[in-house]
């Protein structure tokens, strides 16, 4: 079975779905691999690295034509679909719930499509869970980005030229990204506070040294570990509880998401206007509409001396590691889906069932 690795075309994307290291493992498992020219370039993998492990490097059209399975990170787009042939298998993130047109387009092509973002958050699927692996790096990089953009440093320093107060970092959303952001900010010496709608996150935040800001709510927990949409009342009370910290914060990182929906607005423009001059907000939910009212994806907006940076939870900039992990996830996933080198199509099995969005032109999930 021939697997084709496509170069990402999305603006700003620097990752690649399969790294040379993982390619080698797939080949060892019996698969044949071809990779698009320059696919790994921005993740510090050269075409020669792929060649060295036995992957053929080809032009884009050749990949689409020859591969039975096509791998990408970001959803296949119109341009991609033009080149797809009936019977091919597509694997990428699809966000099928929010992308019905795309799913329809894929179905129209008569192909099968698996979605990486639909992998259930169950224990045995953890090693295929791209959301975890990527959000984790995103949390780290958000802090680095914040530290880079700030005009202050993180740690407390008592020096002969005076004492520098430690930076105050506030984190909204204590999922995978939020936790790693807490850990990283804490390591650098900041005072870290964090808040989340799920009350079980309190202990988790504290286990990493952050102070948890409790919003006195009935703690409507989770649906399979995910947050439900917050009520207006909750959002109001959240603002009250957090404002004191927000207005003192030097760096704010927001990671709050509700799967399949627009991200909740947690910081209004009015709140931004009351923040400290020089503060920085990194909105990792900007792609889902943003947790901060002011943010726009891939833009830096300065409001009242506050820099609001809208970015996505995809850790594009740490592309080497991000590609490594993503590739490992896909590898585990492909091994799970196949027997020998053929797909099992075992629809009784939870992971396959949840992730197989389109089967031979038929939409299974929407």
């Amino acid at each position: 079975m021939k697997i084709g690795i496509l170069k990402e075309t999305l603006d700003g994307e620097r990752r690649v779905a399969i790294t040379p290291n993982i390619a080698k493992q797939l080949i060892a498992s019996g698969f044949e691999l071809i990779v698009e020219e320059g696919a790994g370039e921005y993740s510090s993998f050269m075409d020669s690295d792929y060649k060295n492990v036995g992957v053929a490097v080809e032009k884009r059209a050749v990949i689409f034509h020859e591969a039975e399975v096509l791998l990408k990170i970001n959803p296949f787009d119109e341009e991609d679909l033009k080149l797809v042939d009936k019977g091919q298998i597509l694997i990428s993130k699809l966000y099928h719930k929010s992308n019905p047109e795309l799913i329809q387009a894929i179905a129209n092509k008569g192909v099968s499509a698996f979605s990486m973002d639909a992998i259930p958050r169950i224990s045995r699927a953890q090693d295929m869970d791209v959301l975890s692996s990527q959000n984790n790096l995103a949390g780290y990089k958000a802090v680095i980005l914040g530290a880079f953009e700030m005009t202050k440093i993180f740690p407390l320093m008592m020096t002969s030229a005076g004492t520098i107060a430690p930076a105050r970092v506030l984190i909204y959303g204590i999922g995978v990204a939020g936790l790693q952001a807490i850990a990283t900010a804490k390591r650098l010496g900041a005072i870290v506070e964090a808040t989340d709608i799920r009350s079980e996150t309190k202990e988790q935040a504290e286990s990493l040294g952050a102070k948890f800001i409790s919003v006195d709510n009935e703690g409507e927990e989770s649906e399979g570990g995910y947050a439900k949409e917050a009520s207006a009342d909750y959002l109001k009370r959240q603002k009250e509880a957090v404002n004191k910290s927000l207005f003192k914060a030097d760096l704010v990182i927001t990671t709050a998401n509700i799967p399949g929906r627009k991200a909740p607005v947690l910081i209004t423009e009015e709140q931004v206007m009351q923040m400290k001059n020089g503060a920085v907000i990194i909105d990792l939910a900007a792609a889902q509409g943003g947790n901060c009212e002011v943010s726009e994806i891939n833009k830096t907006i300065v409001k009242n001396g506050v820099k609001v940076i809208g970015t996505s939870i995809d850790p594009r900039s740490v592309s080497t590691n991000a590609s490594d992990l993503y590739a490992k996830n896909i590898y585990n996933y492909i091994i799970h889906l196949t027997e020998g080198t053929n797909f099992k199509w075992d629809l009784e099995e939870e992971i396959t069932d949840e992730t197989l969005i389109v089967q031979n032109g038929t939409i299974r999930k929407s």
Partner: protein
């Protein structure tokens, strides 16, 4: 008694004290045991050969035969017995000691009926010896499983009280009247034996070590009483040493089990107190103390530490590092086994351990450590649960089925630290905790590990 014998006894007494003292430290215990044994040998040999009266050869032959028979049997049993059967053996031996004391009393009684002090001594010796003997046998039976653990006797309290009253009446009668009746003598013996049985029968099997220690202390007192009878210092002092040390030891054992002596002995009667940590399906758990865990780890060659989310919750990263450093300094080979999803975020354990400056090369990935567990003496699991749950292998119905785990079961011994029997993230029972190789060290990780380190430092 000649001066020589007295000096022999004096030396023996000193070896008893020194030996007992040395038995209290892991480093010297073995030597202490040998010293005490040597002293005992000296005392026995001295008693036989250094005396002034005339003794007929036949008696020497009898004594020699008795000693030979006892030594050979005792030695063989001790050498052959499995490690796990040792406590019951101790109980059996202790019973023999008690029996010996009672027999001495039986022989001596007739010769001393007219001396109140002497007969008091003898009567007490018989009673205590008899109780020890029958009680120890019951304890032995419970431990080796031939007796049901907790036996309920109808009208227990009434029978028990009658027996006690019986003992008192017989004893008082004998001392007061100086009656020289074999009947009364054996009646006393019998009530003593009955009381020993009644005493131990209702106590639960898990409490047997405490009971044995208590009975052992009683044997010591019986020996001391015999010492008074013969005005024999080595018996007196040796017996009292065992008696007082035994009481302290008994109390210490109760403490280590978080019980009081009273609750062990009398708690049983109420019949309530279902042992905590029993689980219908999985069996019972074994809990351990920081002190035990410290010694086990100190004398291990390979130790693997498995950190989990609980370590982070307790913020015990600095203490675990201290423990690891200490073990390394003692020549133990220590590693950390890092499960890929231990904690609540990818790399959680890495962040945590980096904070306390654990060397990166001490952290071993799951794939690399799993084959090494069979060669590991002790695994210390700290606040981890799901990542060491064998259900992932065994139980297809489990939500974690199929997840790779750390195969700590393969190690020779597993110590698990957590606060309670509560489940982890996945919310499921963990049969590892009920494994016979597992000891639970309950408590918040930071507190428990701090204790562990403190105990470890005491050892050397």
């Amino acid at each position: 008694m000649g001066i020589l014998l007295n000096i022999i006894y004096l030396i023996a007494t000193v070896t008893f004290v020194v030996g007992l003292k040395m038995l209290g430290h892991p480093e010297t215990a073995k030597k202490g045991n040998l010293i005490a044994a040597a002293g005992m040998g000296l005392a026995i040999v001295g008693t036989i050969f250094v005396h002034e009266q005339q003794v007929s050869p036949i008696i020497y032959i009898l004594i020699g035969a008795a000693i030979l028979i006892g030594s050979i049997i005792g030695w063989l049993i001790a050498i052959k017995v499995e490690m796990t059967k040792m406590p019951e053996l101790v109980s059996l031996f202790n019973g023999f000691g008690g029996a010996s004391a009672a027999l001495i009393g039986l022989v001596e009684y007739g010769k001393n009926v007219n001396n109140a002090t002497q007969s008091t001594t003898i009567v007490s010796g018989i009673i205590i010896g008899a109780i020890t003997f029958s009680g120890s046998l019951i304890a032995w039976g419970k431990l080796n499983g031939s007796l049901k653990s907790v036996v309920r006797i109808p009208y227990y309290n009434i029978i028990n009280n009658i027996t006690i009253i019986g003992i008192i009446i017989f004893a008082a009668f004998m001392v007061a009247t100086g009656v020289d009746s074999q009947l009364v003598l054996y009646a006393l013996l019998a009530t003593g034996l009955i009381y020993g049985i009644l005493f131990v029968l209702p106590i639960g099997g898990a409490d047997m070590p405490v009971v044995i220690s208590l009975l052992n202390s009683l044997t010591g007192i019986a020996a001391a009483i015999t010492g008074i009878l013969y005005n024999n210092m080595v018996m007196l002092v040796g017996g009292i040493l065992v008696g007082s040390a035994g009481i302290i030891l008994t109390v210490a054992m109760c403490k280590a089990m978080n019980r009081t002596l009273g609750s062990v002995i009398f708690g049983a009667f109420g019949g309530a107190a279902a042992t905590a940590g029993e689980n219908k399906a999985l069996g019972s758990i074994k809990s351990t103390t920081a002190s035990d865990a410290a010694i086990m780890m100190n004398y291990a060659n390979n130790v693997v530490i498995v950190p989990g989310y609980g370590l982070a919750v307790a913020q015990a990263q600095h203490v675990i590092h201290e423990l690891e450093e200490l073990l390394t300094k003692r020549g133990v080979n220590v590693k950390y086994a890092i499960h890929p999803v231990a904690g609540r975020m990818p790399g959680h354990m890495n962040v945590l351990l980096a904070e306390s400056n654990v060397e990166y090369n001490m952290l071993v990935e799951m794939e690399d450590i799993n084959p090494q567990f069979s060669n590991t003496d002790i695994v210390l699991v700290v606040g981890a649960n799901d990542v060491v749950n064998p259900a992932a292998h065994n139980n297809p119905a489990s939500p974690i089925y199929g997840m790779p785990i750390l195969d700590v079961e393969n190690a020779k011994h597993i110590i698990v630290n957590k606060r309670s029997m509560n489940a982890g993230y996945a919310g499921i029972e963990n049969e590892l905790f009920y494994n016979t190789k597992t000891s639970m060290l309950f408590g918040d990780a930071k507190a428990a590990l701090t204790d562990l380190v403190a105990e470890m430092k005491k050892i050397q």
